[in-house]
Amino acid sequence: MTDNPILEIDNLSVAYETGRSAVKNVSASIVRNAITAIMGPSGCGKSTLLRAVNRMHELYPSIKTTGDIRLDGESIFSMPVIELRRRIGMVFQRPNPFPNMTIYENVVAGYTLNDIRLKKTQRDDIVEKALHSVTLWDEVKDSLFRKGTFLSGGQQQRLCIARAIAFNPEILLLDEPTSALDPVATAKVEDLLGELKKEYTLLLVTHNMSQAARISDDSMFMYLGELVESGKTETLFTNPHDQRTEAYLTGKFG
């Protein structure tokens, strides 16, 4: 797609048990400082693909992966998983701030979890900057040392995004980050993603076509584990090459 992709997925297959592949021979390139949306009906393997990118599937030993993913030309399977996950952050479907930590502690959780000791001033900086980036600072600056559980769903999700970017990753994986949110909160998060792509590369899984159309630069359409079509979002939506893509976009299934 471009000459300098940040992430290259090369003939990747992911199987849950023997014989049942969730992702089949997918190859794709992800463009730097852009939002790439992965779309498709539920069960098409889009979340599985996303989770393979920071090797989350290794938590479940029955999942087998073949093929390769390269981050800046280097295979992610040959780097320490700790380093990989530090460079690739993740935001989940349902907001999941740590209930035992305060808002402040949640933002710096990446550092605490990785046993990285910081000076208080450094921590304060990181927290303020990250919360500003997700436009949450003004809302929570007076309750930084309270547990994050009183926040609304949208605020919690923005807190989770702050937690991911506080760690300064290169890529942010987002697994249907707005599917548990109301329309107002969704709009806020979408605006935020548009801002974040200036600094980060965003890979977004969504089952919501209009969301993909609204905010993504590039799109990938997956169906039954296969990558059917990918390209500029505009092209994909206005002039799909594959019948299945067209059928999905016009609401024939999904």
Binding site: G89, R94, L113, N114, A164
Partner: protein, 283 residues
């Protein structure tokens, strides 16, 4: 529909039996304890003297209260790393595997072995081992009793702890993993803090078990009516003194033993209630 009313009446009557039974237990214990408390007042609780010599009888339960608390707490301390490892094995590291099922089954079996078998095994198998370490001449005492007690309460602590650990949401663990945390770091930063009160409750309830254990402790603690002076000193617990002396007791001594039972009842009830409260707050 008159028949239905009779059925309901019978069911209600059964439930009333439970209420009356429990009320009766408290009344009988209290009634039986009155002579001892009348004679010695609060001294019965705080005195360590237990002298059945006719004419200058004097009874105080402090030595047994101390013995009970010390053995139970020591057992709890020994039990914690074991139950904790087993819980993490079952509900974290090997969750859902055959290995976890087997371990859970074996730990449950520990709860099935009768107390007297533990006591006997402790006497003939464990005691010589402790003597051979040179730490104790007789092999009896606080430590031996606590060690066996710890093995006995492990299954109670493990079953609740492992259930609670299994309930920690996957999303929270994945969030931590996605930031590069290792499994150990996820356990200490996410799993344990999330399951904290449940784990605590499981240990409180295990403590409640330890407090009332009778036979194994009676056979291993050495039965001396003194406040234990060290890990290998003999002692007596409230339960073991009742088991040992109730048979030949009468009069004031009988009342003192019943009063000891009443204290034991109160302590276990408080500890168990505390555990239940902690667990309810968690759920």
């Amino acid at each position: 529909m008159g028949g239905d009313r009779i059925t309901r009446g019978v069911l209600f009557g059964s439930s009333l039996i439970i209420v009356l039974l429990s009320g009766g237990i408290i009344l009988s214990l209290t009634g039986g304890a009155i002579p001892a408390f009348k004679e010695f007042g609060l001294r019965f609780i705080f005195s360590t003297q237990w002298d059945p010599t006719a004419g200058k009888e004097s009874y105080g339960a402090m030595a047994f209260i101390a013995g009970t608390v010390i053995t139970s707490l020591l057992a709890l301390i020994i039990c914690i790393p074991m139950a904790f490892s087993a819980s993490l094995f079952i509900s974290e590291y090997f969750k859902g595997t055959r290995g976890a099922d087997i371990l859970r089954g074996l730990v449950d079996l520990l709860a099935g072995i009768p107390s007297i078998v533990y006591g006997f095994w402790g006497f003939y198998a464990l005691r010589p081992l402790i003597i051979s370490t040179g730490l104790s001449d007789q092999g009896f005492g606080i430590f031996t009793a606590s060690l066996v007690l710890a093995i006995m309460i492990v299954p109670y602590a493990t079953s609740i702890s492992s259930e609670i650990i299994a309930m920690v949401p996957v999303e929270l663990k994945e969030a931590a993993y996605s930031m590069g945390a290792t499994r150990r770091e996820v356990i200490f930063n996410v799993v344990i803090p999330s399951a904290r009160s449940g784990i605590m409750a499981s240990f409180i309830l295990a403590l409640g078990r330890a407090l009332g254990e009778t036979m194994a402790v009676t056979m291993l603690i050495g039965n001396a009516n003194i406040i234990p002076k060290g890990l290998f000193s003999p002692g007596n617990t409230m339960a073991s003194v009742i088991a040992n002396q109730f048979g030949e007791a009468s009069g004031l001594k009988m009342s003192a033993l019943i009063a000891t039972g009443l204290l034991l009842f109160a302590i276990t009830a408080i500890v168990n209630a505390l555990g239940k409260i902690v667990i309810k707050r968690f759920a």
